[in-house]
Amino acid sequence: MLPMRIVKRQEPLGFGGSFFVIFSALVVSLLLSAFLLFLGGTPPVRGMSVLFQGAFGSRWALEDSVLKAIPIFLCSLGVAVAFRLKIWNIGAEGQFALGAIGATWIALSFPAWPKHFLLPAMIVMAMVGGGLWGLIPALLRQRLKTNEIIVTLMMNYIAILLLDYLVYGVWKDPRSFGFPMTPMFSEQAIVGKIGSTSINWGLAHCLILGLVVWVFFRFTRVGFEIKASGDNVRAARYAGLPYDRLVVLVMVLSGALAGWAGFLEASATVNRLQPSIMVGYGYTAIVVAWLARLHPASIGVAAILLAGLRVGVESLQLDLQVPSAFGGIIEGLILLTVLAGGLFTHYRFAWRRKI
């Protein structure tokens, strides 16, 4: 018999302890990733150093990491809103696509509108697109108790194909030499960069929206109702909370935030709509949300970390020919170890006493 046993804690683990557990989980997952590099014939120490240098080692790398963190942060914020209610919105990827599609539609239809008018219109349409993609699974769940996990996931596939359909078909740039992309947006439809950096003003959107979500959960009645219902659905129903309406609300909010991310990616990053914007930010967002325990400020930190890993994997690919799929491995391992570490929030190991 093992000399240790698992005992329930009197009090859940505090902030410092949780931080230590998550940090250990990250270390374990990075060690496992290094081992996989070794199995793949890459020197592991050199590989991990290239990964971190590539992610945070230079000004250019750091800017790129922040740039990629912007869409991940917004998607993750959305995912976290839904997860608070224990609604499993796996559809950030599709909602992101619909956001980009909605914004593009406005940008291509009214290219001559003044900037202060065009950009808000694009944002609104992006939120409508993403929100709609969240509303459908929410209504199906509310009315028919259809499993939202699979519906949101299927809608990811459908959204990506819809985006493909548009850029290969009706929206295709006639001067793109056959490449699937829309024409470049007009100057007014582009979110600019901050000063001399390569980072766009989407960063400011992130700060504002992060604050809004934090205030929403901390200080508003509906935010409290969502948290309470997420902790205990039956008790919440008993207390008369409008659970079914909350489901629709969080899914629409969640989709709208991911849609906003899609708007920024199309407008600020690539200045047009093209299939290459679909790189799985919506799935990384789930890892980030869970890593950050759904807290907005922590989501910011985790988003930069995971975005950095993506950037680092790019240098790993360039310098040491490691396949880009390595990024997925690290993300999967981080999520698994952080989940496993969650045990220590409510339990701890104790020595067995000799009788």
Binding site: L36, L140, I158, I286, A325, G328, L336, Y347
Partner: protein, 306 residues
């Protein structure tokens, strides 16, 4: 002439449905023990790679097929560790397994992209294949299809008529009562997870060893997720899973034919069909949920071991 086309389409339906059938049966086996495993997509692609690599290195596709099953079990054991030892959330753990499995398969499989391996070839069953229509649709396939015919009845017998099957179902329905009755719920859930993973791996191997004889990184293309949806459609019954799997096999076969026939419909719209159908099928099955055999404690973890 039209009759021949329909028969060919139905035969293709059986073939396209087979990998989904394996995966759906695997997920039913796991969910019956009370564990939700959303990692099917990742496990399938790992199985596809394992089967392909072993068949390629040994020249023996049968060996590859079993290796895929074993790798499937190993991969789902990760889910077992997180959910049964560490009481991690089953939804998130399954998603993580899909992310990890997809990444791992693409990472390890890079060098094999575009290469071929010896796979299974069609083998007409004597006598049965001579039956008009039925024989042509069901008995002129590769041996793996015949294996897939045997699993649903065997699985049904296992659940309905054996002690272990009863124990597995008890672990999924009411773990507290099962524990009180002296059953080791944790062990039964391990059986559900690892046993189910074996079938998911086989489903993946069907794609790389029979459906195609090639390795590409996007071989599964959402079939694992369709399998998760089909478990609900099948009301957790192995027999109904067959109908579900062939429904999707049919739509995929039809989609390929339409694409080949040079239709006016854009390919992205055609490719949407299976995913749209999944949503429709889910909506339809949620209408009559009462008749389903959903395990009462599906997705609920048991307290950590002492």
């Amino acid at each position: 002439m039209t009759g021949e086309i329909v028969i060919a389409l139905l035969a293709a339906t059986v073939q396209s449905g087979t990998p989904i059938l394996f995966a759906t049966l695997g997920e039913i086996f796991t969910e019956k023990s009370g564990v939700l495993n959303l990692g099917v997509e990742g496990v399938m692609i790992l199985g596809a790679l394992a089967g392909f690599v072993v068949a390629r290195q040994t020249g023996n596709p049968t060996l590859g097929f079993f290796a895929a099953g074993l790798v499937g079990s190993l991969a789902t054991a990760i889910h077992g560790m997180v959910c049964l030892w560490f009481c991690g959330n089953q939804v998130v753990s399954g998603l993580a397994l899909t992310i990890l499995g997809t990444g791992l398969a693409n990472y390890l499989g890079t060098t094999f992209i575009g290469t071929a391996a010896p796979g299974f070839t069609p083998f007409a069953v004597p006598l049965l294949s001579a039956i008009p229509v039925i024989g042509q649709i069901f008995f002129q396939h590769d041996p793996l299809v015949y294996v897939s015919y045997l699993i649903p009845p065997v699985m049904w017998l296992f659940f309905a008529r054996t002690r272990f099957g009863l124990g597995l179902r008890a672990a999924g329905e009411y773990p507290a009562a099962a524990t009180a009755a002296g059953l080791n719920v944790r062990a039964y859930r391990w059986l559900g997870i690892v046993g189910g993973g074996f079938f998911m791996g086989l489903g993946g191997a069907y794609l790389s060893l029979a459906y195609t004889h090639l390795w590409t990184s996007s071989l599964t293309a959402g079939r694992g997720w369709i399998a998760v949806a089909l478990v609900i459609f099948a009301f957790w019954r192995p027999g109904r899973a067959v109908f579900g799997a062939y429904l999707f096999g049919g739509i995929m076969a039809l989609q390929l034919r339409l694409q080949a026939s040079g239709t006016q419909l854009p390919s992205s719209i055609l490719l949407m069909l299976p995913y749209v159908l999944t949503v429709i099928v889910l909506v339809l099955s949620s209408w009559r949920k009462r008749t389903s055999d959903e395990p009462a404690s599906l997705g609920v973890n048991i307290a950590p071991a002492d």
